[in-house]
């Protein structure tokens, strides 16, 4: 059913349609509306059987999901930002144990300085945690990815994060097609794990593993993630057949098949980029966009196929590896090994700074006219003057100094 609905409400409805048996939740902006809506459904008896746990922390939330999943229950939680860091230890545990937990990440910046707005620092910090990471470009895709995520997690026995931009998507009202219960039930079979904690057939889970077998257990996670590359494509194809719309998959191409310059991005900024691409195409510029829907596992072959013909690749990402540069860009470079494409690392949208169509157009203008050094890290719409002024100070509380400078205006 198509309705004008907030992203969080839509995702909560989609999660409920997947019949989770245990939901653990600890509040953190901008994830709150999702778990609040799920609480309402459980309290009204509209989501049964389901236990809703108000835990004491994100660490507790993921730990409760681990216990529930080990008993064979479909387990779900949602978090963001500091919350994902606080549960980091449990994230690695869930993936190591092969537990198919699904978690929404309402992407938000990580402090310090504390900041509640959107970027991808939180999910990116856990890119090597063994979780599959899917990024939604729209609220419709966020809904669809959740339905696919439970199926994917349970098929490959790995946990899945569905990442959606905090506020930009979670708090945005837009038309979303919500599937029916019958549709979801037909697409997502009951969770029937092969091994669970059961007194009738006692198993030990979580044993200590020494040097003689540790590497093999870890490699298993990697092999399963690589297998997931095929499964994600299959599930996305089946989803399209069952629901009549394309969603998910590994990468999404937009007017890029013949483009000389291609912008690569994750999440909701793809909409803005596509608008900029349309304008430039109208002006006769050969540009396109490629969205990475699945960041972990890294779809190396698909990225190479989608970008291999390009002369210039601009990776516009909402997080960066301090002391190095772009994170997605490094992965893209790996995929383009041996090909002539020039890759630009561009970091933007940090801490909620809007990436506008105008700034994307300015960026592409710089790229097309060779004003950007492809070897350098570029920060989109950055006020270097403010950075410079703070660098000149001998010491001090950086965030407070910079805010004071900003209020005082240009020097």
């Amino acid at each position: 059913m198509r309705s004008q609905i907030e992203g969080s409400q839509a995702v909560a409805a989609a999660v409920a349609l997947c019949r989770p048996e245990v939901i653990s939740a600890y509040p953190i902006s901008p994830q709150t509306h999702i778990v609040e809506a799920l609480s309402d459904l459980v309290r009204r008896g509209e989501l049964e059987p389901c236990e809703y746990l108000m835990v004491e922390s994100e660490f507790g939330a993921m730990s409760a999901a681990i216990g529930a999943s080990a008993v064979g229950a479909r387990a779900y939680t949602a978090t963001a930002s500091q919350g994902i860091l606080y549960m980091a230890e449990a994230l690695y545990n869930a993936s190591g144990l092969g537990l198919p937990i699904v978690m929404t990440v309402a992407n938000r910046a990580i402090g310090s300085p504390i900041n509640i707005w959107n970027d991808h620092s939180d999910a990116m910090s856990q890119r090597d945690s063994g979780w599959i990471q899917l990024y939604a470009a729209s609220n419709q895709e966020a809904v669809d990815l959740h339905v696919q995520a439970f199926r994917l997690a349970e098929e490959v026995s790995l946990p899945v994060m569905v990442c959606m931009d905090g506020f930009v998507l979670t708090h945005a009202f837009e038309p979303v097609d919500l599937p029916t219960q019958e549709q979801v039930d037909a697409f997502l079979p009951r969770f029937e794990p092969r091994q669970v904690l059961d007194p009738a057939a006692p198993v030990t889970i979580g044993a200590m593993v020494g040097p003689e077998a540790f590497a093999e257990v870890k490699v298993l996670m990697h092999v399963k993630q690589m297998q997931a590359l095929d499964v994600i494509g299959e599930i996305s194809g089946e989803f399209a057949q069952a629901f009549g719309r394309g969603s998910g998959g590994l990468v999404r191409q937009y007017r890029s098949a013949d483009a000389e310059t291609i912008v690569v991005a994750l999440g909701s900024v793809l909409g803005t980029i596509q608008d900029a691409v349309d304008e430039l195409r109208d002006e006769g510029v050969s540009v396109g966009a490629v969205g990475i829907t699945c960041f972990r596992p890294w779809p190396l072959a698909e990225v190479r196929a989608a970008l291999g013909h390009a002369r210039r690749v601009v990776v516009l990402e909402k997080a960066f590896a301090v002391g190095l540069g772009g994170i997605v860009a490094q992965n893209v470079r790996l995929a383009l090994e041996g090909l002539p494409a020039r890759v630009h690392d561009v970091v933007g949208g940090l801490g909620g700074r809007p990436i506008t169509r105008a700034s994307v157009r300015r960026l592409l203008g710089d790229v097309l006219e060779d004003r950007l050094d492809p070897g350098a890290l570029t920060f989109l719409d950055l006020d270097w003057g403010l950075v410079q002024r703070e660098l000149e100070r001998p010491s001090g509380p950086h965030a407070e100094n910079i805010l004071r400078d900003l209020a005082a205006g240009p020097r």
């Binding site: 059987p49 746990l53 507790g60 999943s69 198993v203 030990t204 979580g206």
Partner: protein, 333 residues
Amino acid sequence: MPRQKIKLYQVGSFAVGNRLLDPDDRTVQARSERSNTLTSGHRACQGCGEALGARYVLDAAMRATGDQVIVANATGCLEVFSTPYPESSWQLPWIHSLFGNAPAVATGIAAALKAKGRTDVRVVGQGGDGGTLDIGFACLSGMFERNDDVLYVCYDNEAYMNTGVQRSSATPPAARTANTKPVGFEPGNVFGQGKNAPLIALAHEIPYVATATVADLHDLEQKVERAMELHGARYLHVLVPCPLGWGAAACDTIRLARLAVETGLFPVFEAEHGEVTAVSTIRRQAPVEEYLRPQRRFAHLFGVPGRPDVVERIQAGADRNIRRFGLLAEEEE
């Protein structure tokens, strides 16, 4: 709280030997149908109080529930010595996740069982004093306040034994550990620190809180049985001497646990919904020196010149427990 009617006892406590009891009252371990949940072959040290305690607790829980128990175990000695991959000493469904999350994992298990309608299956969370009182305390308190249907058992050996005997918030004053060595002006662990987990559990007003030791295994079993009769959050704090960490002889594990009770240093009590319902009384209070001397972690108190002042402070703490909990039995006529 002597549950046994029998009045033959040779020790300072009211503990009685198994053979003096009616067959029905004898320990689960004396029965051929005992479940051996922690079976032989594990790698605990000789004289390990934790292995003994865990075996009695879980076999009693199995008996009380008709073998319907799932265990969530914190990281620590108990986890390491019982599950060196690919071996496992556990003959019941058992999961180890992390050091600080056993109560939350147990919560998740209980929630899943409830959602699945498996109310016949019961959940036990367990860990050492570090995993319970320190790193796992937030998860434990959360499990308590939500009144989740979990029995959590803390096996308290008063330090981080698995990592090499470092101080925890359960380490007693003056005790030597790897990071409270008998050097400097205040040798050993300092006074005025640490926390009393059973009393904090009590303050949550959960259905059941009890303390026990491996010196009185009947009492321990009966407390597990009582805990399994109840639903909601339950907490059992078991003192389990550690020969390695305490610097004591392996054959002294039971004796030291008994002396911890008889000195008044470790009050044994039972509480329901925030009210203390019973205390295990002592026939004759033993001086703390009897308890401290056999343990090398307190050796610095008894050298030359020794620290009689510190022993006196420890004695004062024991005396306070005796008064506070009413631990000394009234003389019978």
